[in-house]
């Protein structure tokens, strides 16, 4: 090929590229046409922890369908593609690439849990995927990651609020804390936070016992806590083992004040345990299903509309809330919707009120940190649900 021909070919190719880019820009950019916005989400649908992903995903999709029925956003309908990662990081990475390369999505609203999001960090930056992970980790927002928007108080903050409550509000003499935890990231972080906070208040931690997720029985843990004289038990575990724990404690007529964190703050616990849950208090960063707030009323309305009866209501509520934040950002980004304008729009949220689904949400160009707030809920055995015990609370400055 002669030099001139080579030059003309290069010129033509460049021209085509410019034309293609211009067409895409006119059409609204990646995942956006005049009539439709395509979003993705990577969330577990199958496998042992599918129960955690399905209600959240259902909530996210239902809210977008609700918005579509109201005419969409800025004249565009929202289409959501849900990829299942089986709660495995390699599958999550593959799903993210598929959603961007093949499905050409504007963004992926969530890339799953902690491990999955960390595994995807390079892709999130490379493809400018503004996303809200379905997990809480300091790595998501410190240092600032331009496209990750953290939501939900860190486990450490939740346990600090719990210990603050034990010290300031719990009417009990000779407080003695026992900790039941699992040897997973959240369990270890929780245990550490409880010990540090309790030490500041001079409340003794008299027992630390492991209760794994698949435990057949919690007898030895309950008996050991009784033996140690723990009148307060803080659990750093998910729902199934806590249900086993509470039922076993009931069997031994052991009634300490029991606390749990967000993954164990759900109405299912009260339904499953019945009277065994009467002393349970849970921390959560989403509103409760029975709340009277406008946001939660909307969630219940949406669930009824799409005939959902979520088993884990807190996750369904969280799913609706996440979609609500993206819908608001898409609205604020206006007609010129690109990954960059979407990110910029999320960064304009200041004390954004989801009507009680989340505490007020604020993101800026300098911080994508979540609100430090949680609400405490207590079990209402008669109503078979959790009812608010406090308003939104932050850990005390110490």
């Amino acid at each position: 090929m002669s030099g001139k021909a080579k030059f003309i070919k290069t010129l033509l190719m460049t021209g085509l590229l410019v034309l293609l880019t211009a067409c895409l820009a006119m059409a609204g950019g990646r995942g956006v046409t005049d009539k439709e916005i395509t979003l993705g989400m990577v969330l577990v649908k199958t496998g042992p922890v599918a129960a955690l992903g399905i209600p959240q995903g259902d909530g996210m999709i239902d809210y977008m369908n609700y918005i579509n029925e109201k005419g969409g956003i800025n004249g565009r309908q929202i289409k959501v593609i849900w990829e299942d990662d089986g709660f495995q990081a390699p599958k999550s990475v593959a799903a993210v690439k598929k959603l961007v390369a093949r499905d050409n999505v504007l963004t992926i609203m969530t890339t799953g849990g902690t491990n999955q999001t960390i595994a995807n960090m390079k892709n999130i930056s490379r493809y400018k995927i503004a996303n809200i992970p379905n997990a809480m980790a300091l790595e998501f927002f410190e240092p600032l990651h331009p496209y990750i928007f953290a939501l939900g108080a860190l486990y450490e903050w939740q346990y600090q609020v719990i210990v603050d409550y034990i010290n300031d509000d719990l009417k009990m003499k000779d407080k003695r804390i026992g900790v039941v935890y699992t040897k997973k990231e959240y369990g270890k972080k929780g245990l550490d936070a409880i010990k540090k906070r309790a030490a500041k208040y001079n409340i003794p931690v008299v027992a630390e016992l492991v209760l794994p997720t698949g435990a057949v029985d919690a007898s030895s843990q309950v008996l050991a806590l009784q033996q140690a004289g723990a009148n307060i038990v803080i659990t750093c575990d998910v729902l199934p083992p806590i249900i086993s724990f509470l039922k076993t404690a009931e069997k031994y007529n052991y009634w300490p004040q029991v606390f749990g964190f967000n993954w164990a703050t759900d109405d299912l616990l009260v339904k499953a345990c019945g009277p065994a849950a009467k002393n349970y208090i849970g921390a959560g960063f989403v509103g409760g299903w029975a709340d009277d707030s406008p946001g939660i009323k909307l969630v219940r309305e949406i669930a009824a509309k799409y005939d959902r009866k979520p088993k884990l209501t807190s996750l369904y509520i969280g799913g609706v809330g996440v979609s609500m934040l993206f819908a608001e950002a898409i609205k604020r980004a206006g007609k010129n919707l690109t990954p960059d304008t979407l990110k910029a729009a999320l960064e304009t949220l200041r004390d954004y009120d989801t009507g009680g689904i989340f505490p007020l949400v604020t993101y800026t160009t300098k911080s994508h940190a979540p609100a430090k707030k949680v609400k405490l809920y207590k079990a209402d055995v008669e109503k078979k649900c959790l009812v608010p015990l406090t308003d939104w609370r932050s850990p005390k400055d110490m």
Binding site: S219, S220, G274, K311, L312
Partner: protein, 293 residues
């Protein structure tokens, strides 16, 4: 009293391990195969019981026999479709098939029953029984009783019944058993059916003390040290192994967990497993294979 409470609750949990272990042992004793899908059968049985009672409103006492018949049928069908084509093939290949079966059953359970958490309605009184200051739940009392009854039944079955002897002969040497007139196909179908039925019993009791979800299948791993401790081909061994693991686990949890900051309870059964394998590789009641050259 603390020690006694730990001991008795250990025996109670051990009876659940014993029921699971018995399922493993029955298949091994009858066919020489370790069925790695045993946990999945337990989970499927628990789901069947759940849907019968909660979905169709069938009384628990009626749901139990229906569940057990369904699981026994599942065992016979599994044998016919999955295991029988493998007759005469190396045991290793059959074991690999059971691993595939476990993945298949777990996936199917997710599709059919869903991935949520379910609570099996408790058929037993919530108020526990107090005997000389020791607390026991009705569920645990029943599981201990059932485990003991099954042990006696299967011990007699394998020791004295023609079919039981045929099953042992088949496990020992398929070719010789065939030459001796044992109907191997029938033996296999019955073995898998009975083993699945026992897994069904375990599933019903487990779903009463745990939250029911697809993850229930993994509980079989907890019972595996009991199988090894008792000996792979001994029904009384499965019971004693199960009870021993339950007690050891509970005592370790009650006394050692606090000293080291937790976690010993879960490790202890596997430490026992290693020790047994080093000292008595055939387990406490297993048969030592003697090879003559």
């Amino acid at each position: 009293m603390y020690f006694l409470e730990l001991l008795v609750s250990g025996i109670a949990v051990g009876s659940l391990y014993a029921l699971i272990a018995m399922g493993f042992v029955l298949i091994y004793k009858g066919t020489g195969v370790i069925n790695f899908a045993q946990g999945e059968v337990i989970m499927v049985a628990a789901f069947i019981a759940y849907y019968l009672t909660k979905g169709f409103g069938i009384p628990f006492l009626l749901a139990v026999p229906i569940t057990l018949v369904a699981t026994a049928l599942l065992g016979a069908i599994t044998e016919r479709l999955v295991i029988r084509p493998m007759l005469g093939e190396p045991v290793f290949s059959v074991v690999m098939i059971t691993i595939g079966l476990s993945i298949f059953l777990r996936s199917m359970a997710g599709i059919v029953f869903g991935h949520h958490n379910y609570i099996l309605p408790n058929p037993f009184p919530v108020e526990p029984v107090h005997i000389a200051g020791i607390t026991l739940s009705h569920n645990h009392i029943w599981s201990m009783g059932v485990a003991f009854c099954l042990m006696v039944v299967f011990f007699l079955f394998f020791q004295y019944s023609r079919l039981g002897l045929g099953m042992r002969a088949t496990a020992n040497d398929q070719d010789t058993a065939t030459l001796m007139g044992v109907n191997i196909k029938r033996v296999y179908a019955l073995t898998w059916g009975i083993s699945f039925l026992v897994a069904g019993v375990a599933g019903i009791f487990l779903a009463n003390v745990m939250v029911l979800n697809v993850g229930l299948a993994f509980v079989a791993i907890s019972a595996f040290p009991a199988v090894i401790l008792g000996g792979l081909e001994s029904v009384p061994g499965a019971i004693i192994g199960g009870l021993a693991i339950g007690v050891i686990e509970n005592l370790a949890g009650g006394y050692l967990d606090q000293m080291v900051g937790g976690g010993i309870k879960d490790v202890t059964p596997f430490a026992v497993l290693f020790l047994v394998l080093m000292i008595k590789p055939y387990g406490l009641f297993g048969t030592k294979e003697v090879e003559r050259v």
